[in-house]
Structure formats: structure tokens, C-alpha cells
Symmetry: C2
Subunit: 269 residues, 2 copies
């Protein structure tokens, strides 16, 4: 059975629900955890994650896969390390570095196969964006969709049918996610706030963390002028279905129906 995906909206706190969720779903104290710093080009941000996992009780040493060039991602020894892992954590940075470095490599193939066999895959910020088959490479922030406000490219492909966006509320990315969905209403837009995550397993999404996950469902869009307006012009869209979900809420990705949570989590803001 495929493992779970944890798409984190960035700025994950070291003592919050998100990292605890990753720890609990990656083998707990006996977890064999990898960190992938490719998006970041630095390994330092991984040290906070390692410290947080240790304070949660992780006994084993976390391994950092220092892959920054395509050639390194072709190393046959990676296959063994990926197959032995119970969880991998993709650091943030630039999501295009992830795809330009890993796309079509052995490491990507091994990660996809290991995920199909049960590996938990988490990514924060750029690492979350790149989890899906389609990702926003970069774009223009703001509440209003404009033509071209999201630049979409192929992601790493752990899941499909969804487009993740991160730092969602904090960087005002509602417009670009609406634009992405208007371009092809068959896709679900999933906007994830900071220190919050979408946990996707077995066709169901669950919200974990401090703030909210925004789901943009275009299936009932009646009309849009996205094909007609000029670049950077405002795009009109009618009939978007929207779901704002907080900690504990669930969303069935097949039926596109939400189940709201009764439990509450304290908000910092």
C-alpha cells in the first residue's frame, strides 16, 4: 500500500503537531529517516528537523542525502538507502531545483517506488509543492487570479490530480491557485498555510497543524475567460467550490466532500 504524503506549508515549528505527525507516521522511535536538502542547497535547515525528531524520541541517526547535482542523483547506492527508509523529509527552498535536479533520475524513480511500497514522504514549502505531478514553479501573489499568475511545471509525481501551494494565507496566494484551477478545472487546488500540513493517504486528506488548508474545487466551474484574456489581466471564474479546513478536518479526494472536525487546536494568531 502506498505511504502517506505530508505537504507542509512552510515554517514548520519544531514542537508542533506537524513534525509530531511525521514522526508518528514514519516509524516513531525506530524510524529510519532521510532528509533531502536539494531545494535548499544548504543542509543547515535540516538540523532543526533532526533536533526536533530527536526530542520527540527518535533513536536512530537521521541521514541527509546531499544531492545537489543530477549526477549525484544517479548514484546506485541511493537505491539501498531509500529502500531501507521509513520516512523522507524534503526541505524547502526552490521547487524548480528539486525538479530540475531530480526529474528523470534514479533517485526520483526509487523514491516513487518506495512511496508506492509504503514510504512516508513529507515536504515543506518548496518540498510540499514538488510532491504532486504538477506544481507551481513560481508566480505572482495576490488575491485576484490573473492570467499567468501561476507558472506550472511538472513536479516529482508522488500524487496527481492536485496542485499544492504553500505559505498560502501568509503570502496571499489565493489568486494564483484559482488561476491554476481555472486553467483545468479537473485539478484540485490545495493551499496550505504555514506550520500546517495536508496529510494525504488512501485518497483522503487530513489537515494537521496551526492554521488552515484551503481547497479550490473547479469541477462545478460554469464559465471562465481564462483562455481569452491577455497576460496579466484579471481572470473571471464562476462556480468555484471552496473548502476552508482546519486541524482534524478531512477531505475525500475522490468524492470531493469534507468532514469537519470537532476537535480544536489553539491558534497562534
Amino acid at each position: 500500500m502506498p505511504g502517506g504524503l505530508l505537504a507542509i506549508g512552510g515554517k514548520v515549528s519544531s514542537d508542533g503537531a506537524v513534525l509530531r505527525h511525521f514522526y508518528n507516521n514514519s516509524g516513531g522511535a525506530e524510524g529510519n529517516i532521510l532528509i533531502l536538502p536539494t531545494a535548499s542547497t544548504r543542509i543547515e535547515p535540516g538540523e532543526e528537523v533532526i533536533a526536533a525528531l530527536a526530542s520527540l524520541g527518535l533513536r536512530r541517526r537521521v541521514e541527509v542525502l546531499t544531492i545537489f547535482k543530477r549526477e549525484q542523483a544517479m548514484d546506485p547506492d541511493l537505491a539501498r538507502r531509500v529502500r531501507q527508509a521509513s520516512g523522507i523529509f524534503l526541505l524547502g527552498g526552490n521547487q524548480m531545483r528539486l525538479t530540475a535536479t531530480l526529474g528523470g533520475t534514479l533517485l526520483q524513480q526509487e523514491l516513487l517506488a518506495a512511496h508506492q511500497a509504503g514510504l512516508t514522504v513529507a515536504g515543506t514549502s518548496a518540498g510540499a509543492t514538488a510532491l504532486s505531478k504538477l506544481m507551481i514553479a513560481y508566480g505572482r501573489n495576490g488575491a485576484i487570479p490573473r492570467r499567468g499568475s501561476a507558472n506550472i511545471i511538472p513536479g516529482l509525481g508522488f500524487t496527481d490530480g492536485v496542485i499544492f501551494d504553500q505559505h498560502f494565507r501568509q503570502r496571499h496566494r489565493f489568486g494564483r491557485l484559482i488561476y491554476a484551477v481555472a486553467c483545468n478545472p479537473g485539478y484540485l487546488g490545495i493551499g496550505i498555510d504555514e506550520d500546517t500540513a495536508a496529510w494525504v493517504v488512501d485518497g483522503c486528506l487530513e489537515v494537521v497543524g496551526r492554521s488552515a488548508v484551503t481547497i479550490v474545487d473547479g469541477e462545478e466551474i460554469e464559465d471562465t475567460n481564462v483562455a481569452e484574456v491577455s497576460p496579466q489581466q484579471v481572470v473571471a471564474v464562476s462556480g468555484i467550490r471552496l473548502h476552508l479546513l482546519n486541524h482534524g478536518c478531512k477531505f475525500d479526494l475522490r468524492t470531493r466532500r469534507a468532514t469537519l472536525a470537532i476537535e480544536k487546536i489553539e491558534s497562534r494568531e
Copy 2:
């Protein structure tokens, strides 16, 4: 077994090899052909295709699916018409109209299912671009890749792992296809010239028509600065594999190896 896909680079001649290939692979004289004018918003360009098919020997009436709004693409009666068809031809125009109108609709589902069951799907220009799971919505022409020179969005999804571009040589689209591949070298770029087509069936591509199909394979890309440069700046890429194929040449999409043709076709230019 899935049907074939015929991705045509636009400006298809009414008496050339491309339409003959479509006719031969869509049931011939007894073919049950649909035309989808959604990208064009007009049905007139379909009349030329209908006349050409008639002169090739088609006996049955061609049906034009006049779907221009999402609501129309939800009509349950479309299922019957699509299931009875042996071939469908997507006209050119604007590929974003295709995805924004059909994405997530009943018609898209029925077309994908029928293609899996054997339906031949042809598209010219915008219709070709939209055949894959990822498509270039619009972009900037020119020989040099620049960051953002291709704006990619989700396509209709009859195939995956490739990005089609059309009017390829005529509109100087080499740069934008290189850019698209540099973003994620796991994808193959396929640039199709006018009055030329890529016939994709059973994991193999065959070139049909007057000019060439250009294949951009990024699997051996050694390095690229696509993640680092500013928007519109030139993107450097090293290690691209390139294949320029003309009529009769084949390309195995799994092994990424070409087989050149001995037969020749007269070039108009």
C-alpha cells in the same frame, strides 16, 4: 488496447499523408468520426476536415460536437456518441479553451475511457498540445530558452510523460520546449512542424507528414540554472539529447531510441 494518438503540428493539408493516416486508423470508409471544435469556437475549420475525409472515401456522416461551454460537456447523451465513435479530431485554436472547458467534465472522462478502449484521438495545433497530461498553454517564441518562456498547465491527459509543441519550426519554438524540459528533465519534449504529425501508439512514436518532429530528451542533462535565473533571463542547460525525425522515422518512448526511416517523402520547402 488503447487507441493511437495523432498530434498534428497545425496547417494540415487536405490531401496529405497526415489526414490519410487519420482516416486509415479511424475505421477507414466505415469510420464513425467526431469533430471537436472547442479550441476554435467556430465549426468552419471542421468543414475542410470533413471534405477531406469524404474525398478519401469516408461513407458515414461526420458529427461535430458543438461543445463551447462546460455545461454542454456534461450532457449525458455525449457518452453514447463517444462510445460509438472510431475516431475524434480536435480542431486548433486556443488550447486553454479546451482545458478550461473540458477539464473535469463528463466529456473528458468519456473521451479518456474511449481512448483506453481503442478510440483514435487526433488533434491539430491547439488540439495536439492538449492531448498530453501537461501542455504549453502559451509562451514566448525564439530559439533560446528563457525562464518562463513556456507557460505549462494541465492538459487533457490522453498520454503522459511528454509535452507536445506545434507550429514548431515555423514559429521558432525550440527555446520554449527546451525550457519546459529543463524544468523537469523526466519529460520528453516533442516539437511538431506544420502539416506533420506524431503518431503515438503502444509506447512508440512514428512521424507522418511533410516536415519534421523534434524530440528533446532531458534525461542526460548534466546541469541547468533554470531554478536560479530571473524571469525572462536566458536559461543554460548542458547535456540535452536531441532527435530530428522525418516521415517514417520511429522513436521508442520507453527506451528513448530512434529508428530512422529509409523511405522518403517529398518536401514542399
